[in-house]
Amino acid sequence: MSEAEPAVPEPSSPPEEGRRPFLEVADLRIHFPTDDGLVKSVDGLSFAVERGRTLGIVGESGSGKSVTSLGILGLHNRKNARVSGEIWLNGKELVSADPDDVRRLRGRDMAMIFQDPLSSMHPFFTVGAQIVEAYRIHNDVSKKVARKHAIDMLGRVGIPTPDKRVDDYPHQFSGGMRQRAMIAMALSCDPELLIADEPTTALDVTVQAQILDLLRDLQREFNSAIIMITHDLGVVAELADDVLVMYGGRCVEYGGVDDMFHRPLHPYTWGLLGSMPRLDRARSERLMPVKGAPPSLINLPSGCAFHPRCAYAELTCGLSETEVPELRVELEPTHRAACHLDAAERRRVWDAEIRPKL
């Protein structure tokens, strides 16, 4: 597989001249000053998502995935977070916007599905009331109309007898149904951007597949842009068009989903792929987890944040310990990676050492 091969699929249709992508995040930094030091949860992140496309953000716990999504929605703690960079949603810049304007966009233009549907729904209000509430903030309709809409939404996300379940409380729903209700709530105002923060992590495997199917169907129906935050590469393979791999608050690799699975460029991505259990392999083969623990966001390793865990760090002649690698386009047109290691060398390692073991 060489660069010359023309059949590389375009991961993302490049934006037309003079027009911004639907969602564009440019050099986003979210830092939290604490007593122990500055926590750089997100440090210079850029990406773009078009309508009808899905971006998967992958990374370990504490790599800044969730903070990124909360930052886009403006849900980070405003009192102690320092945010810089730009977030353009549909031609409107959000970082510098008035928090109240951002609030008005929340729920209507951009909505979020959270990881744990039980703790994310208010235990004292009925599911219907919570959807009605979400709908009525942004739509000036009567309670009756809103209730009909809520029932309609519950039906659309596949909840049986929605006219009865609408008056149930979250604890009366099963895990999968609760996540469906959560999705119904998020979609109640037809948002154009949907951020799903590990939407299937708390669910059974069988239910996971249903929820992913549902998301895909709804995306087709609403033509919304989806950001799928997950550490589950299976979910990414299933749903995403583009993939962004985060490590230590930065993007280490960004590209189309096929490239990411067949031609990954970054040693960390190799590690992620190696830690994924596969059914089509003999059980005697061991998984290849990424050694070590995720770095502290207060005290990131110097240079390439991944170098203490990288098996190939010494091949860079010490460069990885002193200099932060830049995110460079390595495979045309948009497959980018941040690694000091020579691209040809990496391709050799991938072909010879990593791929056969996956």
């Binding site: 849900l75 209507r108 959270f114 994310s120 729904m121 208010h122 235990p123 509430e133 979400a134 604890h171």
Partner: protein, 323 residues
């Protein structure tokens, strides 16, 4: 609910006379008066059945509640109509009317104070939580600490000295005027006891509300509420408040129940003739039937309010409801 009440009745009946450390002879002697002869005392013991086994006495007492009871004290026979909680030979009064006579005082004190402490405690707690670390928060929490630590007989006397006598707002001290007699006077005289009593409890409630609110604000569903685009005041006022007030409800029920059985310290400090003052008075004069009556009423209030809280809890928190 009834089980607990009857258990407590049973308990006080068996334990109280022993705790009082009096023999039946002494009890009879107090009833008979100073000049009583041996025979008179023996006669009283006989007539009132003081030497009967406790179980028999208890049965008689329990029967009295339902059917009324006659007390034969020699020269005359006193009839105590049901529900009869006993007859006090100290005051020559049946217990129940005395309790009913004293109850409005305690009721006025407890209800007024509880309104004050809930309103102030909860709102200060909320504001503190929302402005955590601010000057207001610190001032409120230091005041709350003082409120929790200072005993009521200290703050009570202090407020009497400063406001009643020092500033001559209540130059003759406070006294209880029935509401039916003069609502204005009733209110004016109760202000000081209310505030003093409420200060203590409001401090506790402020701390509890603050802690509960801070807990709730960290919940995922608060983030969801914000993600919906709800304005902050709805997030706080509707979503956060609802959850953080449920534990307050429990404690409020308990506190009010205890208080309705007699605010002993407050009533004694301010000289209000309520149930608390009555219980102290009865204990000191060895008036066992009255003590039993007061304890019984106090138990009744606590148990009833607990029951009420349980019912309300099911209304507030759907997870508690039986499916």
């Amino acid at each position: 609910m009834l089980v607990v009440t009857s258990m407590v009745t049973f308990g006080i009946f068996f334990v109280l006379p022993k705790l009082a450390g009096q023999t039946t002879d002494q009890i009879a002697a107090t009833y008979a008066g100073k000049a009583a002869t041996e025979e008179v005392i023996a006669d009283i013991k006989e007539r009132l059945g003081l030497d009967d086994p406790v179980v028999v006495q208890y049965a008689r007492f329990a029967k009295g509640i339902v059917a009324g009871q006659n007390y034969d004290n020699g020269p005359s026979e006193i009839h105590c109509p049901p529900p009869c909680l006993g007859y006090s030979f100290r005051t020559s009064q049946p217990v129940l009317p005395t309790l009913l006579d004293r109850a409005p005082v305690t009721l006025s004190l407890a209800l007024g104070a509880s309104i004050l402490w809930v309103v102030f405690g909860v709102s200060i707690g909320i504001l503190s939580a929302l402005r955590r670390g601010s000057l207001f928060d610190r001032a409120a929490m230091i005041t709350a600490l003082a409120g929790v630590s200072l005993p009521i007989y200290f703050t009570g006397l202090l407020s009497l000295t400063i406001f009643a006598y020092g500033l001559k707002l209540w130059p003759k001290g406070v006294k209880y005027i029935p509401l039916t007699e003069s609502p204005g006077e009733w209110f004016y005289n109760l202000i000081l006891p209310w505030v003093t009593l409420a200060f203590l409890t409001a401090a506790l409630y402020a701390r509890l509300t603050r802690a509960g609110m801070l807990d709730t604000l960290g919940e995922d569903y608060i983030r969801t509420a914000r993600a919906k685009g709800l304005p902050e005041r709805t997030v706080i006022g509707k979503h956060a408040l609802r959850s953080s007030l449920t534990p307050i409800l429990t404690i409020f029920g308990l506190d009010l129940g205890v208080l309705l059985g007699g605010a002993v310290l407050t009533e004694s400090t301010f000289g209000l003739p309520g149930l608390g003052a009555l219980s102290i008075q009865s204990i000191f004069s060895g008036d066992l039937p009255m003590v039993i009556g007061v304890v019984l009423v106090a138990t009744g209030f606590v148990v009833f309010l607990n029951f009420l809280v349980d019912v309300l809890y099911a209304v507030v928190d759907p997870r508690v409801r039986l499916s």
